[in-house]
């Protein structure tokens, strides 16, 4: 009987250790690094996509620099929107934790 009790206390201690570990700083650091990697490309990709759309439209309508310029700026706006949205998501993730 005492053996079972002994095992139960040991299990309890082990479980507490695990639950402490899972919310440790190390884990959070990895999560933040994952989010940091996301932000940079989010911006660049939108600018790239915008410029490419502008380039295609220019080829269609034969208006060489016009649409590239317009869509470059729209793409930048989309990039900033992306970054703001991602940052907002991160913020709400943090608040929830």
């Amino acid at each position: 009987m005492s053996k079972i009790k002994d095992f139960k206390t040991r299990l309890k201690i082990a479980k507490e250790k695990i639950s402490n570990k899972s919310s440790s700083e190390e884990n959070k650091k990895g999560h933040f690094m994952g989010s940091a990697f996301r932000l940079g490309t989010e911006m660049v990709a939108a600018v790239g996509v915008g410029t490419i759309i502008g380039f295609i439209l220019d080829n269609w309508f034969d208006t060489k620099p016009l649409f590239i310029i317009i869509f470059f700026f729209i793409g930048s706006a989309a990039g900033i929107l992306n970054v703001i949205r991602t940052a907002k998501n991160m913020q709400s993730d943090n608040d929830r934790k």
Binding site: T41, V44, A45, G48, A78
Partner: protein, 243 residues
């Protein structure tokens, strides 16, 4: 050999196969894709073969992998995304193992080629768009029209939203590809410094190399994680419309 980009060369293994004008030759890239798929299958086969109450190490790792992804999906995409668990699980494990196999010396990193990551990202993008339209019909288009925008600005905002939506596969694929390629090039460059500086001066780049290898393993895991979690986020947008 000293060329740091040489490691990314794709070359044929065996005869050239051409079907209907498309080159379908077996390359080192396909070899390593098959290798990683085999690694995953064998590992998970042995990990789930014996279902003990006190798990062996290999069973423990497979179960941890399962609960890790299950938790990630329920945290980011909610319970509605449960049916897509097998897809996201395979995606995460495939990218992870491809990255990790790429860390072995003399191996080839499949994910360091943009065509591989772009195809995966495009598949996710198209699948998510189809899921969105299937679940909500044409109401899905309302994600391009945010609430509370003045009517004058609406056309501009809609164009911006569409570009932001279209940039998803690009950012998803470029992130993975660029991280893997940059990391492996850097490792190779520092490795080259060790050789060219010799016994006297080679120790500094060698220590950098060791540190970078650790960092690269972290990046390999993190990129697979980011790839999977972004898939979950996109899936969440398609499943739960709340713009």
């Amino acid at each position: 050999m000293a060329n740091p980009m040489y490691q990314f060369n794709v070359h044929k293994i065996g005869p050239e196969i051409e079907i209907a004008g498309i080159n379908l030759s077996f390359t080192n890239s396909s070899l390593f894709m098959i290798l990683s798929a085999l690694t995953i299958s064998i590992f998970l086969f042995f990990g789930t073969k014996e279902k003990k109450i006190i798990p062996s190490k290999i069973q423990l790792i497979s179960e941890m992998l399962y609960s890790f992804i299950a938790k990630m999906i329920s945290d980011t995409a909610g319970s509605k995304a449960k049916p897509y668990f097998p897809f996201i699980f395979s995606l995460f494990v495939f990218v992870l193992i491809c990255n990790m196999i790429g860390m072995l010396p003399y191996s080839f990193t499949v994910t360091s080629h943009i065509i591989v990551t772009l195809i995966m990202a495009l598949f996710i993008f198209i699948a998510v768009t189809i899921i969105g339209f299937a679940k909500h019909g044409f109401k899905y288009l309302s994600i391009f029209i945010p609430k509370g925008v003045p009517k004058v600005l609406l056309p501009l905002i809609t164009i911006i939203e569409i570009i932001s939506y279209l940039s998803r596969p690009v950012s998803l694929s470029v992130r993975l590809f660029a991280n893997m390629m940059a990391g492996h090039t850097m490792l190779k460059v520092f490795g080259g410094f060790v050789v060219s500086l010799g016994v006297l001066g080679g120790w500094l780049p060698l220590s950098f190399s060791v540190a970078l290898t650790g960092l690269e393993i972290l990046v390999a895991f993190l990129q697979a994680y980011v790839f999977a979690i972004l898939t979950c986020i996109y899936l969440n947008d398609a499943l739960n419309l709340h713009h």
